[in-house]
Subunit: 324 residues, 2 copies
């Protein structure tokens, strides 16, 4: 399977995620407990990966699986990072409004490239660094508050703690991605076995989160397993399946492609969601969306096109001016 | 003299032009007839070029000057193109508002590159074409209407004639630039002699325009030469000298550098004006200005950096993941 096919599929599914989540709401609010969605998605991924692993073992008995505790103990770490990240995210939102938070979220494109360089020792050319910055600039451009939009709080008016936490959040998000890539690539273990470990811990951490929410709420609505499917519609199930599928695709990309490919996929998905929203939700397209798309497309070309295509001049005939 | 020094000077002077013009107004309106400014700037350029030509002839009697009518007759053409351009500009503004017109003005960056390629046969690499598009996108981004700005007319709501005329306007503006470059480079004539021809026709055409305005107004305020300096302040004179100086720098660039260098200078000047306006006129900086500056800086680097700097990977060590 070619990585760009998987990347394109990830873009489409990630983009559907936003649309489906909006469609699963009723009058702008959730009739179900949204925290159950990532838990069920982890369970879905775990089940799919287990089945695929079982099949792989049956077909080829030489399937590589490191069951050493020294290796297994590395797999809960991404879940731990996400847990810290969620709390930092929560803290950030006490200092900045959601649209500023969204804008700052684009920083993770740059932090991912930095950690990719530092921890995975992957070299990027000058033009690839520029492409990464342009991707962040492009996604930010598409999110510029339009003329006539309701809230006009300036991006530059939040307290300094808000920006510091925003940067920390971008670093944690990048760290989780880069660390997962390291985990998936560190040996030739079967992808499905790596997934089983990753999602087992993922399911446990998500379950712990549901339980923690129950404790915080004093079990007012009963324990989470009593009301897990309350308010679920067919769309909610599609949200779960979609989230699970994107997770599986991301795992594949982490093993056979890299974090930068994932970053491009999800950034393109954000733009695709905005374009689809124009048709589906009567979202009014503005100049900034158009400009953001152009910038991101150029960035994509700059990052992935072979260098000789980018800089080769067609056989140059020295400045021959037109004849009169 | 290095071309980048001249280009930097052009950026500073072009940027001062906007500031000085604003400062020369009194309560937002001109106390003088603005049409006299370009005429006097042409006269200033003609005088300076004549003096420099006279000095050059004195120092080196071999100064090259083609006085053949077949050559001289080419020099009024830029003035004719500007005359047509001014009228198209006027027509465009009957269909679109000034801010849409301003946004469409960025098209001339792309049309200049196209005519530069077509008429002057100058080849650009893939990355240089992208740089040109990014420059246009960057200047446009900096001009996005901010949240809370007064008029919120959509850029996409003008009649089709408005867009057609906007494109025509961008083509004419590019044609004038590319044609001037052709004129300046077509032979080894002294730059000053070429300037004298160019500005003589420039002064004549501007004078004709003043006279045409008088005829249109039925000589209500008397002929233009009676009231040419009415309302002139020291700042107005600075506007004239500044406009004349930028014209001389542009001529120099057309002969010894090219249209793309000029386009970069004037685009950077636009951004510099916006930055200076933050300090001078309490202009409120928005995210779009910041993003526009980043995009234009990347474009500048992409266009002018040597190709090997852009794409050379530092000696690659294959993906060595971090050790645990």
């Amino acid at each position: 399977m070619q990585w760009y096919f998987v990347a394109a599929l990830l873009t489409i599914l990630t983009s559907s995620q936003g649309i489906l989540t909006t469609l699963s709401q009723s009058n702008g609010r959730y009739l179900y407990d949204y925290a159950t969605v990532p838990f069920l998605a982890e369970v879905f991924k775990l089940v799919v990966s287990s089945l695929l692993l079982w099949q792989e073992c049956r077909v080829s008995p030489s399937t590589r699986m490191t069951t050493d505790w020294k290796s297994v103990r590395l797999f809960p770490i991404p879940s731990v990072i996400y847990l810290v990240h969620n709390n930092v995210q929560f803290a950030t939102l006490t200092y900045v409004d959601t649209s500023t938070y969204q804008i700052m979220g684009n920083l993770k494109i740059v932090t991912t490239a930095l950690l990719f360089r530092l921890f995975l020792r992957r070299k990027l050319s000058n033009i690839q660094w520029m492409a990464i910055c342009l991707l962040a600039v492009g996604t930010t451009t598409s999110q510029i508050k339009g003329c006539g939009e309701a809230s006009c709080d300036s991006l530059f008016s939040a307290p300094i703690q808000g920006y510091m936490l925003g940067i920390l959040s971008a670093c944690l998000s990048a760290l989780a991605g880069v660390y997962t890539e390291f985990l998936m690539k560190k040996n030739n273990d079967s992808l499905y076995w790596q997934n089983v470990q990753l999602y087992t811990f993922g399911a446990i951490f998500n379950m712990a989160r549901l339980l923690a929410d129950d404790f915080r709420g004093g079990f007012e609505n009963g324990p989470w397993w009593h009301r897990i499917f309350d308010g679920y519609s067919i769309t909610t199930w599609m949200v779960v399946l979609n989230l699970g599928s994107t997770g599986l695709l991301v795992s594949w990309l982490m093993k056979y492609a890299d974090n930068i490919v994932k970053v491009y996929s999800t950034s393109m998905a954000m733009l695709l969601t905005m374009v689809l929203s124009v048709y589906l939700f009567n979202f009014k397209p503005a100049l900034q969306l158009f400009l953001g798309i152009i910038i991101c497309m150029m960035s994509l070309h700059m990052y992935f096109a072979p260098p000789n295509i980018l800089v080769d001049l067609p056989s140059t005939t020295e400045a021959a001016p037109m004849k009169v």
